[in-house]
């Protein structure tokens, strides 16, 4: 048991607030996690004390800002066990990281007749960029389906892999169902076929292991704001040899080496992919979030979240007419459900009236909703600061809402 959950809750000022005159029960951490005070303070400190444009100025403020930004890169590299800090590119978020690879790797290495594989479990952000790339290049877009338990059909995946497969993009954890996908196996099979892999770790980096070298991931992408860091910062990890070989994505300041009317040459990694003034406080705030996470034993946090998920699944199943979607062997932090005869939107709105924040709708995963045959689901999602009391509040809230709706 993660003993510090009550003290951890006190680190998040928003969790002490009232919403609609009731204590906030925040169960939407898969959309974004709340921020600990130390992250909020780090952003304020940056703007209060050493705001300056980085990499250019030689004065003290610029040096301090540059150091903080580059130290954040090194910290992120250590956090995911990358070999080099220059394999870390800062972006605006997971979506931009994926678009960068879809554009840049796509321009460099995907030709007509090649194939890209994604899965039916993807968020639109890890689906649409690849679909559009395939349309641009006349490449084949292939989708690995999932079964009734919400697990990927690996036999179909194996059958899809061939010498034309250039890239396999998949999420480590599904944002709609919480399925933990067998990332190592998916990557090994892709590598055996000569394809590279992109792991969408937006929902996994904060909940399960995040060792890119253990996974042998070629690209690994995630957002700061879903792991207790600021909104607006994302990470693209790419193996050095791949990032070196890829053409730039955006162009402009910072990413260039020599510019004249005859010739433009590009800066070294990672700057080649960071055109323009970056969102400097974002990585610095993310670095503070990583330090914050280090206050805890990661295994204890994961065990706490897993125990809470199990408690949540058991508690929800007691509610008559409630259906939980998927039954994967391994699920993490996400409780997707509907209640017979109740519109998901209505449930979400009426839970909000009781201060309970859950997400309703399609969760940017229309292919999943189509496969489930629903217009949407209710999704409760967990983070390290959630407690059994939050689950109890959700269950009691649902009972109360059902009384309002059924008359």
């Amino acid at each position: 048991m993660f003993r510090d959950v009550q003290s951890a809750r006190r680190d998040f000022p928003i969790l002490q607030s009232l919403v609609n005159e009731r204590a906030l029960v925040y169960l939407d951490s898969a959309a974004t996690t709340q921020k600990p005070q130390v992250v909020i303070d780090t952003l304020t400190d940056y703007y209060t004390r050493y705001n300056a444009n980085i990499h250019r100025g030689n004065y003290s403020l610029a040096v301090e800002a540059t150091n903080a930004y580059e130290n954040a890169r090194a910290k992120v590299a250590r956090f995911i066990n990358a070999e080099h800090p220059h394999e870390i590119v800062f972006t605006r978020g997971t979506t931009e990281s994926i678009n960068l690879v879809a554009y840049s790797f796509g321009e460099g290495f995907v030709k007509e007749g090649d194939e890209i594989i994604v899965t039916e479990l993807e968020h639109h952000s890890n689906y649409v960029p690849w679909k559009l790339l395939c349309e641009r290049k006349n490449a084949k877009f292939r989708v690995v389906p999932f079964d009734e338990n919400g697990e990927l059909d690996l036999e179909q995946y194996k059958a899809m892999l061939n010498e034309r497969t250039r890239l396999v993009a998949f999420n480590h954890i599904s944002n709609s169902l919480g399925t933990v996908n067998p990332a190592k196996e998916i990557i090994r099979l892709a590598h055996d076929a000569g394809a590279v892999t992109l792991v969408d770790a937006a929902q996994s980096v904060q909940h399960i292991s995040h060792d890119v070298r253990d996974l042998d991931a070629d690209f690994y992408v995630f957002s700061g704001h879903k792991m207790y860091g600021p909104m607006g910062v994302g990470v693209l990890y790419g193996k050095e040899r791949l990032l070196e070989a890829m053409p730039p994505f955006q162009s402009g300041g910072e990413m260039i080496d020599i510019v004249s009317s005859e010739k433009v040459t590009f800066n070294v990694l990672p700057y080649k992919f960071e055109a323009g003034t970056p969102y400097v406080p974002g990585p610095i705030g993310l670095s503070a979030a990583i330090d914050y996470l280090k206050c805890f034993d990661e295994k204890e946090v994961h065990a706490h979240e897993d125990a809470l998920l199990k408690y949540g699944l058991e508690s929800l199943k007691e509610i008559p007419g409630l259906k939980v979607y998927g039954n994967p062997k391994q699920r993490s932090s996400i409780l997707p459900f509907n209640i017979e005869g109740v519109q998901h939107y209505d449930l979400g709105i009426l839970l909000d009236a009781r201060g309970i924040a859950v997400r309703t709708g399609q969760h940017c995963t229309q292919p999943i909703m189509d496969a489930l045959g629903v217009t949407g689901t209710v999704r409760a999602s967990l983070a390290l600061y959630n407690t059994r009391e939050d689950i109890d509040a959700l269950v009691n809230g649902i009972h109360r809402v059902l009384k309002l709706l059924r008359r």
Partner: protein
């Protein structure tokens, strides 16, 4: 009753209720009181799409007055539809087009509901206004 009088009564009724849950309870009650819409009228053509719920409007124009039947698969949205029904059903196209709908933007519950893009309140109002414009020129 005119649109203005209906609006005044509705705002007063909602303000009498103390908390959000009671307001929603009343809204849902209004939805239950809405005359039923025949299933054959719930066509693709009559669908006003919100992001998380569906609303159907079957609108007729008679003597420059706008009449409609409406329904939604969401009870909350059906309550909103019932409010729209009380305000506008049977009113003249001109009154509908010139009605001040600012209470949707300013009064507690309505501001909260209009601010959500997902329930389609604004799409619903735009749909009615368009029908009223067509009715005016009919």
């Amino acid at each position: 009753m005119s649109i203005k009088e209906q609006e005044k009564t509705l705002i007063e009724n909602f303000e009498l209720l103390e908390n959000w849950e009671e307001k929603y309870d009343y809204l849902i009650e209004l939805g239950y009181e809405l005359p039923e819409m025949s299933e054959d009228l719930k066509t693709e053509q009559n669908l006003v799409k919100g992001c998380q719920s569906s609303v159907w409007f079957n609108i007729r124009c008679e003597n420059h007055k706008v009449f409609f039947e409406a329904d939604s698969d969401s009870l909350i949205v059906k309550g909103i539809v019932a409010v729209v029904d009380k305000l506008f059903n049977g009113q003249t196209a001109e009154d509908l087009l010139t009605a001040d709908l600012s209470f949707f933007e300013t009064v507690g519950l309505w501001r909260h509901l209009s601010a959500q893009r997902s329930n389609g309140v604004s799409a619903m109002l735009a749909h009615l206004k368009k029908a009223a414009t067509d009715c005016l020129t009919d």
